[in-house]
Assembly symmetry: C2
């Protein structure tokens, strides 16, 4: 029945031989691998303005400078990652690069950061997607957390059913998103240049209240918030094998496109936020305000909002591809539970999908589906990963000294240095806002990886067979004990079976009501097949206690032998009949499973009516 | 660990030999067995007035007549029950009396009615007790259902811990309750006689609105509500063996006292409700209004409310003694699940206590802890029981024709007739208000008893051993199949064990990843102890499917043999290690337990670190 339900829900299983890769041309690879990074323009400008809103109208000017700095940082990181892509044509995930060049533990730090990052990508992207929807439909604003959980469930379900990174699924929303935003920016700029009267979000006469002066700390905090624009940049490096040959070259080109589009959209939107005097509002996103300012609340505005929501949910989907893959690699390397490496019916790592969905749903519920509360947790892990993988590249260049290594070394060195500084800035500026959780969580996760690895290695050593294990006596003899609750047909069957197990076979009866014992004795005489019957008193009406005590004694008597306990059970025809029988057998079985060196055997008797 | 927790919660278990009875003198037996009946004066007058409130001031006059009729009915029932007590000195529960005299199915109807009645006694008494408390403390009025559930839990817990019907526990609240109510009635009457100005609940100038004229239907409905005063009357007849000798005579005397006290309190309170112009109010009980009218809101008023709450909760306790006892008798007669007959650690029928508590809590939550909504369900079952047991007595007199049988026959006949009419009146008048649930539920419960009985009888017939079962070949031979997931120390142990089970022993390996198979084959060659290894492909990566198919085939090949499946398991040292291993063994075990004619054996290997 469970199998039928599973089939209905997830479709027919796929044979292992179907595990193939789809090769993507660049124009399809861009939406697949860049949707995560591109989608972050939906919230990055807003995060900068949110941190600066306390300085009033001065925020808009400062935001331009911060956005420019982030765009420059993006250029550095993109240049740095091009090196990685060219050096690791088989896929340059940060875990692989760091582990290979810096050693196992830095690699695990990178892996822990990445896994944290994927969970947050799902939570933040879905929360921001929901915010795009609730900006257009404010009546839904109180259902944010619920909508978020539903979307995560939907994406997880699609992945469990085996949705692949299909270019044709990703292309339309991604290109519509890019197109609408470029059009918004172009029309907005045109209106500014032609001095068309602008539909300001905050009318120019209306004063913007400043409660604090602009300080370095506020600038750093705004910068830290804006750095969420750069999340998802590493996706192209993970996906190299999916590109058409020459894979590395095509991937590097796609990365450059992506960085150019991301940078220009981000700068454009931040500029429009300035000229349209947009400030973050509780119930409407900055992008929604800009789009409304440029086009009014017409059909084009709704297309923008839908495309934003769609690309954000696709970004979550990217994490659903990467998290299970990385955790399966960790499981293969024995740093994560083995189950994360199981291929499900649909050739996806189902357990990883479930873990990711549960963690992301938990975060969404905990933070009431609010993007602003999730963002402070977000970028730390990303920048730690950047730093480690770029440092790894530097070490690699120094080790291999391939042609042009000096230039490459400088590029990656600048990348590693810049992202390292940024990681510290983000952790410091956002520490009190939630970054402390990530700062605590990543080392804890590395510790868990370590303990898991230790367990698997120790277990392997203990279970490893050597010639010595074949020495010593090979023949065991065993004692069979049949538990007797009453004398009926099932018992005779169990006795016949028990006699095949061992020549030393006996029945064990626990006396709860002494008045029944003579009857049991009589009937055993008649139907006991000559097997001896042991009767134990139980003044406290407990079944488990006396049985365990007897078996412990039997084990002590005869060392190096096995005691097999035969539990006669009858299996009723109808499910509700089960409820009409004492479940004492079940408790006994549980207790026996906790007792060492006893083999438990169920001898079942099927009732026909 | 569970055992330690249980010990802390419920105390040390008691040996079976401690199952003795406490013998009670009459003055202690009265509180123990009459608290249920006496406590119903706390709500009976209120139910009459509630039904009549639509006729305005005419309600008070009509209530006097109805109360007098109920008092007369009480006298008839008490006289009738005296016969039962004298005829059944070993305890004249309605189930026993009805089954013995009218047959099994009428007996089951009585049992179903009684069980329903006990559940409702708990629900109604606790709800009324909570109402007494919230009358004194109106700020608690919105927590009625929660308080009710807590009280039921408390009484259930005390009973699970083995609280007995201790006279010294019951006596103080019961006698305080009787004393305060008599004092209230006496002072109230004194004020009326001396023409002291009364503190009316509704001032005489204030008109009492009538929305309907007084009709026969309203009178019958009020009568039906008032009949809740008579619930609990049968408790003395159930408890005869707990009286000091001469048991029957003492029990009969106690019953007479009880009826006299109950009748006089009921009539007195109904009269005071008239002279103090008390009408049911949403947040204060009628008894609370009367006590407040007579004494003002002083300390004596609070004593009355506490005593009322206490006796009502003791009434619930009576049901907690009777329900488990009756259901254990039904279990012994094989009409109820066997587990209801299990004596727990504390020599109480723990399962019955849990079932009763769950049902009563369910009702309290369903009806928001409101006495008025529960009462319509209440009295039907009680009067059905009265009718059946009195009819049983009539049949008994006709059969035995002991001395004076004609007079006794008339007494019981009048009782049976009167209670039968009342049962119909209550079912009719309260049908739409909830009595329909009981009218449907009692026959359904009888049907369930019937099906359970049928199952146990059929099962007994099927499992019964005869000489024929000893004919035929007594020696079985078995095939042992060891499931192999990898070649490690645990496997060698399992193989050595499997070889003791059967000379026909083989290993079974399911190939999920074909690249691992050669390694497995090599290592089996070395460590397989010469046992043959069967390798099955599994293109869909399923473990369960191929194993089951192989075993089904093996069974077909060799009929009349047993296939024993040995599952090698290793038991890790720490609980969290378990989570690090595939649970595929568990799923396989579950699937095997659903497959017929296969014996499943766990060969466990203990990991030391």
């Amino acid at each position: 029945m469970l199998a039928v339900f599973r089939r209905l829900l997830f479709g027919a299983p796929l044979p292992t031989s179907r595990q193939i890769h789809e090769r993507l041309p660049k124009f399809l690879a861009l939406p697949v691998f860049a949707s995560d990074a591109l989608s972050s323009v939906a919230y990055a400008t807003e995060e900068i303005l949110l941190a600066l809103s306390v300085v009033g109208a001065a925020a808009w000017g400062a935001a331009q400078g911060i956005a420019a700095a982030i765009a420059a940082l993006l250029a550095i990181v993109a240049a740095s990652y091009r090196q990685t892509i060219l050096a690791y044509p088989a896929g340059g995930g940060s875990y692989t690069v760091t582990k290979e060049n810096l050693g196992v533990y830095p690699g695990l730090v990178a892996a822990a950061s990445l896994l944290t990052d994927y969970v947050l990508t799902v939570a933040v992207s879905v929360a921001a997607g929901v915010a795009a929807i609730t900006s257009a439909y404010p009546q839904l604003v109180h259902e944010k957390a619920l909508l978020g959980v539903l979307f995560v469930g939907l994406v997880a379900f699609a992945n469990l059913r085996g949705v692949r990174e299909s270019g044709w699924l990703f292309a339309p929303p991604t290109y519509v998103f890019i197109g609408t935003l470029y059009l918004t920016i172009a029309v907005g700029l045109f209106k500014v240049i032609t001095r068309t009267p602008l539909d300001h979000a905050i009318p120019p006469g209306h004063p913007v209240v400043a409660s604090q002066p602009l300080s370095l700390f506020l600038v750093l905090r705004a910068f830290a918030g804006g750095c969420s624009a750069m999340t998802g940049t590493e996706a192209v490096a993970n996906g190299i094998p999916a590109f058409r040959p020459p894979e590395s070259r095509n991937a590097a080109t796609t990365l450059t496109w992506m960085a150019a589009i991301l940078g220009s959209l981000f700068l454009g939107l931040t500029f429009l936020a300035h000229v349209y005097r947009v400030m973050p509002a509780p119930h409407e996103t900055v992008v929604s305000q800009i789009a409304r300012g440029v086009f009014g609340r017409g059909w084009f505005y709704y297309v923008t909002q839908y495309a934003t929501a769609a690309i954000l949910i696709l970004a979550a989907n990217t994490a659903f591809q990467d998290f299970p893959r990385l955790s399966s690699i960790l499981a293969r390397d024995r740093f994560a539970p083995r189950q994360l490496g199981n291929l499900g019916d649909k050739l996806v790592y189902s357990n990883g999908i479930v873990v990711l969905a549960a963690a992301a749903m938990g975060l969404i519920v905990m933070f009431h589906g609010d993007t602003h509360h999730l963002i402070p947790l977000y970028a730390v892990g990303v920048f730690v990963t950047f730093t480690l993988s770029q440092t790894g590249m530097v070490v690699r260049h120094l080790r291999l000294r391939e042609s042009g290594w000096r230039v490459h070394c400088v590029i990656n060195g600048v990348g590693a240095f810049a992202t390292g500084i940024v990681a510290l800035v983000i952790a410091g500026a956002k520490f009190a806002h939630g970054a402390w959780m990530v700062v605590l969580f990543i080392p804890s996760l590395v510790f868990v990886f370590h303990k898991i690895h230790q367990h698997y290695i120790e277990l392997g050593n203990q279970l490893r067979l050597t010639e010595a294990d074949l020495a010593g006596p090979m023949e065991l003899t065993s004692t069979a004990v049949v538990l007797v609750a009453g004398i009926h047909k099932g018992i005779v069957r169990a006795l016949r079976y028990a006699r095949t197990l061992s020549p030393d076979c006996r029945g064990l009866y626990i006396e709860i009501d002494p008045s029944e014992t003579p009857l049991i004795r009589d009937r055993w005489e008649k139907f006991g097949l000559g097997v001896p019957l042991v009767i134990l008193e139980s003044p406290y009406r407990s079944l488990v206690g006396p049985v365990i005590r007897y078996l412990e004694e039997a084990k002590r008597e005869r060392r190096d032998q096995v005691v097999t306990v035969v539990l006669p059970e009858f299996v009723p025809k109808k499910w509700w009949h089960k409820m009409l029988h004492n479940q004492s057998g079940l408790f006994l079985k549980l207790a026996l499973l906790l007792t060492r060196d006893i083999v438990v055997t169920n001898a079942r008797y099927y009732v026909e009516k």
